[in-house]
């Protein structure tokens, strides 16, 4: 392992850890109430009182960013859970059963994947009422194909391993083969996918919220903040800068973390 690859992992880990700390702190403490308005102090530049300035309603941007981490992380976490659960069912069934089940399920997954992601999320969100929950479900469904493919691939590969055949030859049942002998070996690739999907989820949530179809006001969301800051771009550039920067850092952090884990796992690369 050369040090360049480890650096990727460490930068990713550090960024993600810092954001986690920020989120944890925001659960107990934010400098100002996230929805506390102060019309007199509208669009203040960053300073000692408001580190990242204030928005068009005089709300503290740092506080809103901090509360926004909760939204971002819950969207990331729960949508990855949905994607993983759905993807595992489809991918495991396709990879383990093979033959016609594989064909059928993977063509369905291909169809889902052929759809542009954000468009699919838009459709799902517009069918139902836009809210945090709907956003999470829509993004989760979006991730099912990625997980299904990774898990199917892992199953196909591991299913043929000698130790799986040997376990089968010794009389192990389906559940034992899947959960004891196959799943532990595909875990690392699933973790990498989860990490990459986590950052994608945050990005999609920001995009949906930016379009006004994701998280609804007054709940703080980085995408929504970007949207609101647009009108004041020339007057208060820091307003747009803060959520943009945090979206970038989060996505970068999780991507680097994912890449780092992948490199760590794949010693040949």
């Amino acid at each position: 392992m050369n040090s360049g690859k480890k650096i990727t992992l460490w930068i990713g880990l550090t960024l993600v850890a810092l954001l986690f700390v920020l989120m944890a702190v925001s659960l107990f403490y934010v400098p100002y109430g996230a929805n506390e308005m102060n019309i007199a102090g509208r669009l203040q530049a960053p300073g000692a009182a408001h580190w990242l300035g204030t928005d068009n309603f005089g709300r503290d941007i740092l506080s809103r960013i901090m509360e926004g981490t909760q939204t971002a992380f819950s969207v990331g976490f729960f949508s990855v859970c949905i994607g993983l659960a759905g993807g595992f069912l489809l991918g495991a069934a396709a990879g383990y059963l093979g033959r016609w089940a594989d064909e059928l399920l993977m063509r369905a997954v291909d169809a889902l994947m052929a759809f542009p992601g954000i468009l699919l999320a838009l459709i799902l969100v517009t069918i139902f009422k836009p809210s945090l929950g709907q956003t999470i479900i829509a993004i989760g469904i979006l991730f099912i194909p990625s997980f299904a493919r990774v898990i199917r691939g892992g199953f196909l590969q591991t299913k043929e391993a000698d130790f799986v055949k040997a376990a089968r030859g010794m009389g192990a049942g389906h559940a034992a083969l899947i959960f004891r002998h196959i799943v532990p070996h595909i875990l690392s690739s699933v973790i990498v996918t989860a990490s990459l999907c986590f950052s994608a989820a945050i990005l999609v949530e920001a995009a949906l919220s930016y379009l006004g179809l994701g998280v609804q006001p007054p709940d703080p969301s980085w995408g929504r903040m970007l949207n609101e800051s647009q009108a004041y771009m020339s007057k208060a550039p820091w307003y747009a800068l803060a959520p943009g920067l945090f979206i970038t850092l989060t996505v970068l952090g999780f991507n680097l973390l994912g890449d780092g884990i992948r490199d760590l796992r794949d010693r040949r690369a």
Partner: protein
Amino acid sequence: MLSAPTEAPPLLDIRDLRVELTTARGRWPVLEGIDLRVEPGETVGIVGESGCGKSVLSLSLLGLLPPAMRISEGEIRYEAGRLPREGEEAFRRIRGREIAMIFQDPMSSLNPALTIGEQATEMTRLHLKLTKREAREHAVSLFRKVGLPRPEALLKEYPHQLSGGMLQRVMIAIALSCAPKLLIADEPTTALDVTIQAQILELLKTIREEDGTAILLVSHDLGVIADMCDRIAVMYAGQVVEVGTAEELFDSPRHPYTQGLLQAVPTPAKKREKLLSIPGTVPALHERGAGCRFHSRCAYATERCLLSAPPVVRVSGAGGGAGAGTGAGALAATGAHAVRCWLAAEEGGLPHAAG
């Protein structure tokens, strides 16, 4: 049916087994007309080159054939009961408990993510419904039996911490853990070095003597087969071409292929001579014609060998003298020396290879 009179039914009785491979270009027989018996406590060897169907045969016994292959004809009887042709559940009760299998490469046959203990207790907990503690104690006693050092500590170790020979001992211990009546060993020593190979074969002999376990030993190594087996079946291109006791096959091989195999074994006596090899390779699935499958490589081949399939001829053994019994069953009959060759059907037969 021509068969030797036996009191008890054989432990394993394969009758006219045919396994087909389905491909986009059609269905090809991988195994054809396999007749083989294994008596309780007996060691039967299956020998042949790569690609002649040895492994497919051993996998078919446990229903472990790859999805593209299936048994299309014939049957496998285990203790006079028919083994199912398909059906995972029916096979699962037999696998590991009645018939256990040892695989070629011990290093890849154990799950690297689980400890030795977890894998060694899996089968007894499943088949014999032992508790975790009982299963561990059972595993420890088996580890002692197969000659593994510090068995208790081994349970907590992972496969990568052990050498190949130790892993094969672990595999054998696992295979023996439910006291199977038949042990299928598919090239059990191929992946190991020679000294370890001898130790593992010694261990298999001990098991056979102490537990009376019948062993079906699959190997391409005639030395291993000669050392271990009571009876030997020589396979070529998906067929059993000659079957007999170890003495019969080594002292008076009747099939040109068997003779060729024996001549290709290096021995100290042949040190200065050029080692004989059989020219050519095993015909591919779609290259097998109507005649004898060995004709393209056989020094004695005639036009007849090319055109029509040779009969199975019993050359000696229980139930009749030379040339007495032909047809299905002759190859399976216990104690019979039978061969699938036109030359053996004739008076005089194949000239014996000069020592």
